[in-house]
Structure formats: structure tokens, C-alpha cells
Amino acid sequence: MAVRLSPKVLLIDPVRMLPSLLLPLGGVLVAGGFSPRSFVFAAMGVAGSIVFAVIRWATFTYTIVGDRLELTRAFVSRSVRTIPLERIRGVDVSTPPLHRLLGLAVLKLDTGAGGDKQEGELNGVTVEEAERLRAVLLARRVIPAVASSESSANATDTSTGTTSAAPGHGKEHYYIRVPRSWLRYGPLSGAYLLTPFALVAGAIGLLFQWGDEFGISGKDAWAVGEWLWDRPQYLIVAVAVLVLAMPFVGGVMYAIFNWDFTLKSRDGYLVAERGLINRRAVSLERRRIRGYELAESPPERAAKLVRVWAVVTGLGDSQTRGQLLPVTPKSAALAIAAEAIGPFGPSSATTPPSQASTPGQIGHVHPSDQFGQVHPSEHEAPSGQVPSGQVPSGQVPSGQVDSAGQASSAGMPLRPHPPQARRRRLFRAIFPWLVVVAVAGVLGWGVVVVIALVLALLGIPLGLDRYRSLGHAYDGARLSVRSGSLRRTQAIVERRAIVGWTFKQTWFQRSSRLLTVIAGVGAGKGGYSALDTGERQGVEFAAEVTPEWLNQFIARP
């Protein structure tokens, strides 16, 4: 049975169109000198747009026929978009403010096609209908092995608001409802901090675009600019106000977007809900989740906080949709990620990744071979390393656990990269600024020389920290790589998600005997790199993860 959207969207549509109608209507009125006739024309315009909205509403229907969803538009020409239900990989329900007022929701279907146009959208169904549709659309995709990871041994109660309801089919299981008090961590992420500047820039842009309508010409704006330029104290005050507003405004924005963040599981889906004004619920199909990614800024690291994204195959706009946790204390985040997706560490070698692939899918490796195939690695790690008891099966070069090592990497310590990598990180953080210093020195630009010198000096701690961030590890089921300083990211990806390897070596890396190893993954960013590993270390890392692919190509001395 073909169904229309809720007629209540007709109350929203005109409001949505209002801004675009305002100018033409105003133009008609002004041009007509506000004569009765011009009002008639304006009224006709309004009526026309309402009729348009009604016709559009009346001619759009959706229906579920057998195993597919059909979206039919019969306004001018008849078009039917057919979406096979098995292609629907996720459903994204959001309620913008006006919709919420009327009890409506927007349903977006993620078909993994990529690109907005390929995806289906039902803008304006009642909230109950949205829930019903979600249940119907997603029910088809439930597969038997769904609850396996929930019942894994690592289901830790993190005492942070996690409710440990018994997992089961059709039941909701909350991993976390983020307490409101955690919203205070928001500004540390650096997200939204530039909002005040963005607002001012937006206002200036609007002024230039619409200024003429209000009788402000570009010349006036220019005059204001010149006036300000002559009185720099005002500019400085303005900038200072904006800078002081950064954490505050950033915090408010963060709270608006991440209000009452919850992560739960339902019928083979991970559902992340968040938002104050526009509440949005993103359902990620578990079968397509291949791992997760942790991101930290330096202040977050200092406060032991982290943000978490899911690595999902074929997810468009994964930066917004894939977010699993907002800024969260690290210990809680790791426990939740381990419970919801899978742990990273020695224990996970025994517990298979969620929804373990069918036997023989990955290759012909017997589980017991996974470590046995690895040859003793050349020890390129810095001398004087601290042996760590946490490293599995001894074949792995024992990682130098820096003071934060144990806590700063998820689950299992990462193997550090050779000292040449530190030299390279330092060089890359400092040298460009020294070039600037030299050039500016020749040209006699004193200010630039000073600024570039300061930046070059800052490059020293930055480069050192970038080196400390580098690391990689494999626990028998998932591999992990980490890099970055100002935004340090650690990816934890299932071995079965790997579709190939790329090793890269530039001229400079070759002379330092370094190698960048990129694991090709058909999900998330597409590739996760271990930057500047030792030549042999990198090759053996790949061979450790997929020995059946790599071993035959390794040179034996």
C-alpha cells in the first residue's frame, strides 16, 4: 500500500521555503510601490508555493513491495526509485526543531552507494511511523550471529552510566548514556572552538551579500574597515573578546550537538543518538563495522579523554555518522568500544571478532598459525628498551613502553618505530620553517624571521611527540596503527577487513631505511598507515597480520 508523508509536513514546507521566497516577494512589493496590485501578486506567489508544496506532497508516495522500498514521485513526470531492502545498510532518523514541534522525523536511508543523490530520504513522517519503518527496514537484515560480541567476556560495567542489560534479540542494550557532566569536556576537543570567528566571518559575508538591500554599500563597509584600521585598539579588543568567547561558544555548540549522547545495540545495529535541537539517531549495521578509530587532541590527552568513531564499510559522511562516542574518559571509552565492537589486546586473539567470518574466508590459516608464522623480527627498536610482559608470544619485539604507553594505547602496547623515524619527524616539523627563516632573512623581513623561528622551535616538541605517537601492533584478530600529534589517531581494524597492502618508500625514507606500510581496508578511510616503520619491521608487521599473503615474498637471508 502506497503511503504519503505525514500531511503535517505541509506546515513545515512553507516555512522552509520562506527565506528563498522573501526576496522575490519583497522585490515584487517594492517594484509595485506597495500598491494593492503588488500585494495581489505577492499573495499569488505565496499561494502558488503552497499549492506547489501540496501537490508535491500529494504526488509523493512510498511503499514496501516484497523485498524492496519504492519511492514514487508523480509530479511532472513519474519516477520510481526502487531500493532493495537488502541494500539498506543503515537508517538515520533525525528530528530538526520544526519537525520535533510537530512530532515528525526525517528518515535517511544509507544504501552504501555513496553520494547523497543515491540515498533515499523520507522527509516528514510521524515519529511512530519512523520507528515502525526503521524496524521493518532493518529487520530484514538481522543475521543470527549478531549478539555474539555483546556476550563476549569483556562486557565490563564501566560504572559510568553503562547499563548492563542482558543482550538478546529484539532487545535494546545500552552501552552508555553519556552523563551531562561530561559535556564540560567538549571544548578540550578543539571542535567548534573557531565558531565565534566563523560567526563573525559569516556575518561579514552576509553583510556584503545583502548589504545593498539594507542600504549599506560596499563603500560604507570599506570606510568602517579603514576606521577600524586607524584605531587598532578596537580591533585588538574585538579579537580578544572573540578568543575569550572561544571555549564558551565552543562548549555551547558542542553541548547542542552532543546532548544526551547514547550508544545502544538493537537487532544487529549499533545506534548512536545525540543532539539537543536536532536529535539524530544513526543506526550502523554491525555486520559492516570493521573496527574503530580513536582521536585525541593534546589537551584531551592530558585529561585522559578520547573520541571514538566506527570504521564502517560503505558509509557516506562517516565523520558525522560514524561517531560512536563524544569526548569521553579514555578508560570508559575503551571499555565501551571493546564491548560494542571488540577488544584490542591479547585477550581478543581467543575471542573472535564480532560476527566472525565464515570459516575459510580469510585464507587457509589455522588460528594457531597466526603467531607461529611470524619470524623473529630484526630489533630496530631503540636500545635500552623496557621489556614488557604484555606482549603476546614473545616473537614480537618487545615494545618500549613510554610512561604513557600502557594507558595511551588501547588495550595493548604498540611497538615503537625505529629512531630514524624520530629524526624524520623532527626534520619535517622544523626544516620548512628554517627555509622560511632563510628566505625571509635574505629579503630582510624581520617579523617573518621571528615568527618562523618561533614555529621552528615549536617544531622540536611537535616532532618528538609525533614520533612518540607512532606505533603499530597486532593482537591476532585486529591490527592497530597510531600517528599524529595535534590530532593523534589510533585505528583498530579487523584483520578480515584488509583487502591488500601497499608499502611506500620515498627517496629519503630509503636512505633512512624506513618504510610506510598502508593496510588497505574497504571501510573508513580506505587505508590505515603505519608511518616510518623500519624496513624489516614494517614488512614483518604485514606478514604477521596476513602471513598467507606475504610470507612467500619475504627475502630470507
Partner: protein, 187 residues
């Protein structure tokens, strides 16, 4: 072609083993005609750049902000461009020929490419999504072809350039045939 055409069972690496390399070289070289191909491509770019510089030099004489010694001799511009760009054009093709190699064994495609920088790619046949065989103008003239192997990720995708046409055709066919049999939808 120094190697027998076509994907064969693993054969011993032919390149001189460099002890420090962690990986052995792939078994097969690309076609020797690929050197000509890279040279033609390089020289084309070279001609375009030098031609552009020559055009630019027509104006140089009238730019007063430039030092006098340069405005007096505008022909220095294309000459300098040529001197800078010529060495790579000449050394790149033989270097590439030494580096570019490929191999298909035990259901994994292993390809090496680059000249100053290098790249090794490993693509298991079971994860291949598409195999394309492509031929550009110059490649057609020289009887060469390129095999493009695509997976779900850019980092698991490989392009093997400069193969003899026959070899490329057979490799592409073998790969797409095997890929169908081994197809693995885990990703």
C-alpha cells in the same frame, strides 16, 4: 621480454638480491619497450614545459622589474628550464625499468613500481573487485598495455604499467577468472 610471457608459477627472483631488502623482488620484469614508453611520456612533458618557457620568454624582455642581465637575454628562461628538466627525462626510464616488476603467485598479485620513490603493492586475488586492461595512444603504438586491479580500497589497488599486450591480456583474464572463483565478500 626477458621473462616468459604470462603469469607462471613462482619462479626464483631474477634481480640481484640486495641483502638489506626485506622483500624479494617480484619475478617478472615489464616489457623492455616500456622504457621507450616512459621516455616518450617524459619527453612530451618536457617539450610542453620548454615550449611554455619559450612563450614566456617573449614577454620577459619587457618586464622591467627583472634584473637587467635577464631582460637582455630572455632565451635564458627556456634554456634553464630545459637544463633542469632534461636529466630526469633521461634517467627516469631506465631506473623505472629496473624497479617495475610484477608477479602472480599463490593467489596474490605482487607489484613493485616507482623510480626515486618506490611502492610495493600486494593484492590477494580473492579481494579483487575489478580488473581492467587499458591501452593509451603510445601504449597501442608500442604494443603495450596496463592492467589495473581494483579492490574496495585505494591502498589495495594496483596498476601494472608497461606490460607486453599479450602478457597483459593473459594476466587480466587469469585474474578476473580467478577472482570470480575466490571472490570473498568479507569487505
Amino acid at each position: 621480454m626477458s621473462d616468459p610471457a604470462g603469469p607462471l608459477p613462482p619462479s626464483p627472483p631474477t634481480a640481484r638480491p640486495v641483502s638489506r631488502d626485506a622483500l624479494r623482488a617480484p619475478a617478472h620484469q615489464v616489457s623492455r619497450r616500456a622504457i621507450t614508453l616512459w621516455f616518450i611520456e617524459g619527453i612530451t612533458g618536457f617539450i610542453i614545459m620548454v615550449g611554455g618557457a619559450a612563450l614566456l620568454s617573449l614577454w620577459v624582455g619587457s618586464w622591467t622589474w627583472l634584473p637587467d642581465w635577464l631582460t637582455a637575454r630572455p632565451w635564458l628562461v627556456p634554456l634553464a628550464t630545459a637544463l633542469v628538466l632534461l636529466p630526469p627525462v633521461i634517467i627516469e626510464p631506465p631506473l623505472r625499468f629496473a624497479v617495475h616488476r610484477w608477479e602472480l603467485s599463490d593467489d596474490v598479485v605482487y607489484a613493485r613500481s616507482g623510480w626515486l620513490s618506490r611502492e610495493w603493492v600486494f593484492v590477494p586475488v580473492g579481494r579483487i573487485q575489478t580488473v581492467d586492461k587499458a591501452q593509451g595512444w603510445f601504449e597501442r603504438l608500442l604494443g603495450l598495455a596496463t592492467v589495473e586491479i581494483r579492490t574496495a580500497s585505494y591502498a589495495g589497488s594496483s596498476t601494472i604499467k608497461g606490460l607486453d599486450y599479450e602478457v597483459a591480456a593473459r594476466l587480466a583474464e587469469d585474474l578476473s577468472h580467478q577472482a570470480q572463483q575466490l571472490r570473498d565478500d568479507a569487505t
